[in-house]
Point group: C2
């Protein structure tokens, strides 16, 4: 806030508000000054906000929380007020301008997001629990896979277990892509039936206690022939090489390069068509970016995915995705599921 020369910051992005306050509901605004923080929500969250929000003053507003926050902001001595430019709608910005005629509204970008990159041990413990829940849901479902099941049924079995074991919701629509469809990096589950001698790619995540998991495993129904086994081995070695490169202070670019170098050796580099990974935390995609051209050093405690893939049109594809914590000594792997080729 000093750098931006703002005396107060209005925070309306829900993951940012939840991160700063501990609030788990879905409507609220936080006003931060050097002296104090005030959280505004509405009467639906009266009891919940008082229970969850410990370090901010809590105001249960009779009007829209943003309007209540603006009215209090208008009474502040501070003149320059920060507002999150990427999450506040233009209409809302206009309304705030009218409510804060005597203030200067300063659009800010990524202030809280930057704080969220370095997870503390409490957050890492929550992410680990989410990651373990995802692994459990997948591993139990693997025992059910049979030729004739539809991709949708597989997705349903995975999501059922996430929810049954306490997850709030999938962190994205579970991907189940079998046979040639495994060559589509963003395939949705369909009514296509699993067939013997094909890859099944499953990409899944769950939100647990407000934190996201994300993982991908690709299994083979039956005994994998040489080409399938070779593609799998290339991707597995790419994950391992990337994870070995992860450590505090290394660049995301160098991690990305380590994976691509392996795929190049196998002749598959041009079939790896997306980024290597992304940060995850309260959102399933957040900072830091993990890919080409990312020269910023990885910070201690960042939690990131490593997910190389090889997609061969008409043949199928393989992706393996793990979650690791960036530590001084290297990557700490959170995903407990084996990366060996599973032939079911």
């Amino acid at each position: 806030m000093g750098e931006e020369r703002i005396g107060a910051l209005l925070i309306a992005s829900l993951p940012n508000v939840q991160y700063l306050t501990g609030f788990s509901g879905s409507a609220g605004v936080l006003l931060v000054t050097a002296a104090q923080a005030t959280f505004f929500t509405d009467s639906r969250y009266d009891i919940q906000a008082r229970e969850e929000v410990k370090e901010s003053r809590v105001v249960i507003a009779r009007e829209y929380a943003m309007v209540a926050a603006a009215k209090q902001t208008a009474r502040l001595r501070e003149k320059r007020i920060g507002m999150e430019a990427n999450t506040v709608a233009f209409a809302e910005y206009q309304r705030m301008k009218e409510l804060l005629l005597k203030k200067k509204l300063v659009p800010t970008r990524g202030l809280v997001e930057a704080l969220r990159v370095e997870k503390d041990e409490g957050e890492i413990a929550l992410i680990r629990k989410a990651v373990e829940l995802g692994s459990r849901a997948l591993e139990e479902t693997l025992t059910l896979l049979r030729p004739g099941m539809t991709e949708l049924e597989v997705a349903a079995e995975i999501e059922y277990r996430m929810r049954r074991y306490g997850g709030e919701r999938p962190s994205f629509e579970t991907i189940v892509a079998s046979g040639p469809r495994a060559a589509l990096p963003h395939a949705r589950a369909t009514t296509r039936r699993l067939r013997p001698r094909e890859f099944i790619l499953m990409d899944l995540g769950v939100i647990l206690s407000g934190y996201a998991s994300d993982m991908t495993r690709t299994v083979f129904l039956g005994k994998a022939p040489a080409k399938a086994a070779r593609v799998y081995r290339a991707v597995k070695e790419a994950v391992e090489a990337a994870e070995q490169q992860v450590a505090t202070g290394r660049t995301a670019e160098s991690v990305d390069k380590a994976a691509r170098r392996v795929l190049r050796r196998y002749g598959y580099e041009r079939y790896f068509t997306h980024s290597l990974g992304h940060g995850l935390g309260r959102e399933v995609h957040e900072l830091p970016r993990i890919g080409r051209g990312q020269a910023t050093p990885l910070p201690e405690g960042a939690t990131i995915t490593i997910e190389p893939g090889v997609y061969l049109e008409g043949f199928g594809g393989v992706r393996i995705e793990d979650v690791v914590v960036v530590r001084k000594g290297g990557a700490e792997l959170l995903t407990p599921t084996s990366r060996e080729l599973m032939e079911l």
Copy 2:
């Protein structure tokens, strides 16, 4: 667009884009002028956009779709360009302003949302399918309810069936609230176990082919004692009275009043603490608003929920929610599940 005196409209709200183009992906911008419509998306959606988008020109942009749309907008003869003020982030608005220096950006509100209120028969057929899927998921789950199951397990069983039978995702986090928790209108499913002689309130919805369903049923585990049966009867009669009031040209206010009149007769009016309902379609909450002070006549083809509830602190609560289509002759009920008190 004539009323707003804009020569072109940039549409970035995803439900609006999907409504106007038929596109089912998650990133795209539509530019509409009097002469033509152009849809911009990125290379991930190349094949899909060409398959799904029939009545607009399709541009696969190498850059962010919004930037590609802005560059084409800059070349238009039209001077006044509409932008959706409620969905475009302030940062994006600023960027567009820089890209469109010679244009006048006009914030618009609810232009496409207003078109979406009156559903055509194709849309109603899709909503009916989503509603029927929700009913099927609930009715099958009702046969599994036993004392000792947790609320989370019940939610998992419901969502499992939604997904297994082809739904894309729940339209919101399924609510399962048992015993005294049924008195909390927005309760999340918890690890609380179902107990005999209690209400179980279940509020659920599913997205199927891009359209949302929404329903609530409250059942009793065991034989309902007189007070519980009376609360249930009051809510059931309130739903019926409200549905009888629905017809093209009637006001939402009059529908709301019909429900509240019944609850007043039972002495429960002050325990009904939320709106009577809402429109639903591509979003689970959309226009029209159904509640007090809504004096606009209901339009033909609007699809709305009717969901009165009575919440008695410490005792529990009852809510019943159906989806109906506004027709000239009255409400057409889409929800097939019985409204009679189910004692399980």
